[in-house]
């Protein structure tokens, strides 16, 4: 990649996300959401997708995570085409972690049970799962909360549980959709710092959709999403 390449192309070597000419529209093409989107994300990189609400950030994350399909375009995530169901399943089970603005935890389960869900889906051995849950809970200060139900946790704790759940199966890439959007400023800072440390300490790539400039500016790269297009920052 030359130095003059646009910001949405990665500069490092191991590309975990490659998207080219991706288009998406709803309502039989009447509502255009993504228009000719191209981007790359490399391992160990934290890339911000900065844009206003409705700009297409979430749709792009959903498409990259195989939760939605593009109308057109070329996609590769962790070396797999998320266009077919088998690859999507492999991606979600082994390569991707999702964090949402609303934590999307299962309220009737305990913290530990929520963390076990991805391992259950992947068929991970119980002993290994138990050790991983303990490791993640300790690293995020949730060890004393493992037996508690989600409704007993604060907003910040819930989002930390969601981050741990995203990390359960040791993903290469985390797709984070406004993870600090529903939190107060102090808690949001803590959560962002936690995400930053994941990149630094574990080499995880994070694609962070946010509308908060202060967080975007702390990322390795910032891609602006405006009216369904990615622009250089």
């Amino acid at each position: 990649m030359s130095n003059s390449a646009p910001a949405y192309f990665a500069k490092a070597n191991t590309v975990v996300v490659h998207a080219l000419a991706v288009r998406k529209a709803y309502d039989r093409g009447r509502i255009g959401v993504l228009d000719n989107v191209a981007l790359e994300v490399c391992a160990g990189e934290m890339v911000a997708l900065l844009g206003a609400s409705g700009s297409g950030k979430s749709t792009l994350l959903h498409i990259l995570g195989g939760l939605d399909a593009p109308d057109l375009g070329e996609l590769s995530v962790c070396g797999l085409d998320p266009g077919n169901e088998k690859n999507r399943l492999v991606l979600r089970r082994h390569h991707l972690g999702f964090i949402f603005q609303l934590h999307n935890l299962i309220a009737d389960l305990t913290v530990e049970e929520n963390l076990r869900v991805p391992a259950l889906a992947a068929g991970a051995p119980s002993a290994e799962t138990k050790a991983r849950v303990r490791e993640l809970a300790e690293s995020t200060g949730l060890a004393h909360r493992l037996g508690h139900r989600i409704q007993d946790l604060s907003g910040g704790e819930r989002q930390r549980v969601a981050i741990c759940r995203a990390l359960m199966n040791r993903p290469q890439l985390i797709l984070a959709d406004e993870p600090t959007g529903s939190l107060d400023e102090a808690t949001a800072d803590t959560i962002f710092a936690l995400l930053r440390s994941l990149v630094k300490d574990q080499g995880v790539a994070i694609l962070l959709a946010t509308h908060e400039r202060r967080f975007a500016e702390q990322c390795d790269r910032v891609l602006r999403v405006r009216a369904g297009r990615i622009e250089e920052s």
Binding site: L120, A121, S126
Partner: protein, 370 residues
């Protein structure tokens, strides 16, 4: 956490809904168990009436009901002299009414009939059967509901009869009946010289085919069936069994609809959660498995509840004098297996649409859904 634990979590969180599903299956199980046990008991009793000390039953070919079958005295005598025959016991069935009792079954039989000698005699003696003028002999239950004692004169149909004895058999159907000497029964029911069936004991059970052939060659209007063959093929029994299963299946159908409703509501109320499971790596099959798992657990609890309810109802019915002997005391493993299989398949069938719906939930769309 294991997959099954997730199933239980989902059921626990909507206890009332799950209980409605359990109750639906449970009532289906109880209904089927009770109906089939009663029908099975009634058929069993009838089979025992016919099969006392006999290997073969001979009756009129192509008759729709044994009550309408006619085997003549000449034919009975012919059967008796066949080389394979050890003993032949004619039996005439009839129905009469008594004040307050519109249907009472009557049995016309000869003095040497094994069912008389094997009975427990409460009043009178088997040796006196047929020797008392204008005498009838009552089953123990019939004596009770007719409020009759030995040596009394009671009205049966158009006649007045002397109660010459009271006997208790192992069979509730017989116990509720009135026993006439064969000739008296033929006269009373205007069926002179005929019996309904002849129960035949063979000298050697291995000669069954030869006996059957001999009877059917000599009397083309008659049919000889081995007891087991008769029990399986007799139309009335088949209709009864079919009716039992049909009524039970209808009860299960309602139970299945209950499960379908429970599972549908369960799926609709957690569309977002199912989307999250998909995001976390659950396959469509795993999501469907979760729903089927919940239905199977509902069926399991429904079976437990239904069997408890059904056996409780049967135990209670056995205490009712009118049902004495009609309730099958031993429920066959086949019946139990049939009920378990029906309950499971009903619950799983009820879960097909909800499971299909759940498996097809689009995560991105569902996550947008608030």
């Amino acid at each position: 956490m294991r997959f099954l634990a997730l199933v239980f979590v989902n059921l626990r969180r909507h206890k009332l809904r799950a209980l409605i599903g359990v109750a639906g299956i449970g009532f289906g199980v109880a209904a089927m168990l009770t109906i089939l046990a009663i029908i099975g008991g009634a058929i069993g009793m009838f089979e025992r009436i016919l099969a006392v000390d006999s290997h073969y039953l001979v009756f009129e070919r192509n008759t729709s009901d044994l009550f309408f079958s006619s085997v003549t005295t000449k034919q009975i005598e012919g059967i008796r002299v066949l080389p394979q025959t050890e003993a032949a016991h004619p039996l005439l069935f009839g129905l009469v009414s008594a004040p307050g009792h519109p249907i009472i079954t009557c049995f016309g039989l000869e003095a040497g009939n094994p069912r008389l000698t094997r009975a427990k005699w409460i009043a009178g003696d088997a040796a006196d059967f047929g020797r008392k003028k204008n005498g009838i002999w009552l089953g123990a239950r019939a004596a009770k509901f007719l409020d009759a004692a030995a040596s009394e004169t009671i009205g049966i149909g158009r006649g007045k009869f002397f109660v010459a004895g009271i006997l208790e058999t192992e069979n509730g159907f017989e116990d509720g009946g009135v026993f006439f000497p064969l000739a008296a029964a033929q006269e009373f029911f205007h069926r002179d010289g005929v019996a309904s069936v002849v129960a035949v004991q063979l000298r050697n059970p291995a000669q069954g085919d030869a006996f059957k052939q001999a009877v059917e060659e000599a009397y083309p209007g008659l049919i000889a069936l081995e007891n087991r063959e008769f029990n399986q093929g007799y139309t009335q029994f088949r209709i009864l069994r079919f009716t039992g299963w049909a009524v039970g299946l209808c009860a299960f159908l309602l139970g299945g609809l209950g499960v379908a409703n429970t599972m549908l509501l369960s799926v609709f109320s957690r569309i977002r959660e199912i989307a999250v499971l998909r995001v976390c790596g659950f396959s469509k099959g795993q999501v469907a498995g979760l729903i089927f798992g919940e239905a199977a657990v509902i069926a399991g609890f429904g079976l437990g509840f239904g069997f408890a309810l059904g056996f409780g109802a049967l135990a209670a019915l056995q205490r009712v004098p009118q049902f004495h002997g009609y309730i099958q005391s031993a429920i066959s493993p086949l019946l139990m297996g049939g009920i378990v299989a029906t309950a499971l398949s009903t619950a799983l069938a009820g879960a097909i649409f909800p499971a299909r719906f759940a498996a097809r939930i689009q995560p991105a769309e569902a996550l947008r859904y608030e």
